[in-house]
């Protein structure tokens, strides 16, 4: 599905948090949103998800302007947000509708995708942080969202788990061709995953720059081209430079 954000602004108590953001995501595109803390990345994601409808401007999914929560949209939050009273398997089936056996079958398939097929009967308290986050990822993916919103999904994980999950995300993306919006603080992560990187700046946050990453996948995390992009991004994030 395509996603269009058109002139979106959001104010909290009269104070602007983001100002006039516009971008367009092709179906199956991975878009990264980078920006310093407090520049409104989460705010934009919440507006797209429909959890927050108090913004100005339009958000169109497949050309239809919508303010409600779409059930074709999946959201992976910064924290796992698992329901502690449900087992891992029940957490994953939470958003599924229809026949119970079907639900369990597909939940198990996704748990396997995230490498947790053995852990379906555990409760969230029995999971490590990375396992919990993987369950959250499985829970969002099992509904085959056509648009997937990720708010710093891997930021609390160690470097190694992080890389594993990034590759997993790419596998899933390859299989389902979801449109992905990825908010991150991690420049390397954005370079490794995204087709395009949008850089926000300032307070209120404004769209500062769009960088297209043409490198074919699988990408080499240490490649020269990515390093060049990284320098460019670091430069644009540097608040001491004057905006132009």
């Amino acid at each position: 599905m395509s996603l269009e954000v058109r002139n979106v602004s959001r104010s909290f108590d009269g104070k602007k948090a983001v100002n006039n953001i516009s971008f367009f995501a092709e179906p199956g595109e991975i878009i990264g949103i980078l920006g310093t803390s407090g520049c409104g990345k989460s705010t934009i994601l919440r507006a797209i998800s429909g959890l927050d409808s108090g913004y100005d401007g339009d958000i169109a999914i497949n050309g239809n302007v919508e303010k409600e929560i779409q059930d074709t949209t999946g959201f992976i939050f910064q924290e796992p947000r698992l329901f502690p009273w449900l087992t891992v398997l029940d957490n994953v089936t939470f958003g599924l509708k229809g026949d119970k056996d079907d639900k369990i079958t597909s939940a198990k398939a996704y748990l396997k995708n995230v490498g947790l097929e053995e852990s379906g009967g555990l409760y969230p308290r029995q999971l490590s942080g990375g396992m919990a986050q993987r369950v959250a990822i499985a829970r969002a993916l099992v509904t085959s969202p056509e648009i997937l919103l990720l708010d710093e999904p891997f930021s609390a994980l160690d470097a190694f788990t992080k890389m594993q999950l990034q590759d997993l995300l790419l596998d899933v993306w390859r299989a389902y061709q979801s449109t992905i919006i990825l908010v991150t603080h991690d420049i390397d992560e954005a370079l490794y995953l995204c087709d395009r990187i949008i850089i926000l700046r300032g307070q209120p946050g404004e769209l500062h720059k769009e960088i297209k990453i043409e490198e074919p996948r699988p990408r080499d995390r240490a490649s020269k081209q990515l390093a060049a992009h990284k320098a460019e991004i670091l430069e644009s994030l540097d608040l001491n430079l004057k905006t132009s």
Partner: protein, 283 residues
């Protein structure tokens, strides 16, 4: 529970499993040991008490020997009056508990879910809460006479407040983040309540039930002291009037036993319902 989780997540190697089993019996044994340790002092005290009573240090008309008390209970059990007293007292607590809980659930859900209802009811309920509940007794007796209704009402009032307060704080304290997850999956208000808010509020509600039940037992004593012709509280009055301390102490012991028993049942329910919780039931 934790054990079980570990088991399922370990690679199944047979000698590893037997090792775990060994660990479990060991732990059970430790539980037995704790029980044993915990009962040493009470048993010793009862023995000393028995001996001191026998040699006449405690006068029998003030503090009868444990054996005398047991004998009293045995006699009451034999002529059947014991079951009668226990039955009626338990019945009163149960009915009062059910009514108090129902009222608390209805009002608590309203106040928890609707801001308007909170503004409407909560200040009043908080004001009523600051009245010591026993102060209602004369009024209830005046209104409903000395029969069952006034007693049950009193107990229900006692049960109401802890259940109500815990339910409301449980509902209003549900993590907004979990509610957002529910919303992302397109749940409507009713489904949100059923699938997210109620399960999240359950631990707090169960805490309320347990402290409500405790208050119920306290209030049944008060209610039966006021005037009753049956019940364990009546035995207290009877013992006082007939100058038989063994009846009073027997009644106290029976209160302790069934009070503990009913709490144990709730604790069991709590344990089953809250298997998922990190800190299993704090007794």
């Amino acid at each position: 529970m934790k054990h079980k989780g570990e088991l399922t997540s370990t690679v199944v190697v047979s000698n590893r499993i037997s090792e775990k089993k060994g660990g479990r019996t060991n732990r059970n044994f430790r539980g037995g040991e704790a029980l044993l340790l915990g009962s040493i002092i009470p048993i010793a005290l009862v023995l000393v008490w028995e001996i001191l009573s026998r040699i006449g240090v405690f006068p029998a008309y003030q503090l009868p020997a444990p054996s005398t008390i047991l004998e009293t209970i045995r006699q009451m059990a034999q002529d059947g009056s014991l079951w009668n007293h226990i039955g009626i007292t338990t019945y009163r607590v149960f009915v009062g508990f059910v009514f108090g809980t129902i009222a608390a659930v209805i009002l608590g859900s309203l106040v928890g879910f609707y801001k308007k209802a909170e503004q409407l009811f909560d200040p009043m309920i908080q004001a009523f809460r600051s009245i010591p509940s026993l102060a209602w007794v004369p009024l209830f007796i005046l209104w409903m006479g000395i029969g069952e209704p006034s007693k049950v009402t009193m107990i229900a009032v006692g049960v109401f407040f802890p259940v109500y307060l815990n339910l409301v704080s449980g509902i209003t304290g549900v993590d907004r983040k979990l509610i957002e997850v529910g919303k992302m999956y397109g749940l409507n208000t009713f489904q949100l309540i059923k699938r997210v808010i109620l399960p999240a509020a359950l631990p707090s509600f169960l805490v309320g039930l347990r402290s409500g039940l405790g208050l119920g037992w306290m209030f049944v004593v008060a209610a039966e002291l006021m005037g009753a012709s049956k019940g364990l509280g009546y035995l207290l009055v009877l013992g006082q009037n007939t100058l038989s301390p063994e009846t009073i102490i027997a009644s106290i012991i029976l209160f302790a036993i069934i009070g503990k028993l009913s709490d144990w049942i709730l604790k069991l329910i709590e344990k089953r319902a809250l298997r998922w919780q990190d800190n299993l039931v704090q007794s």
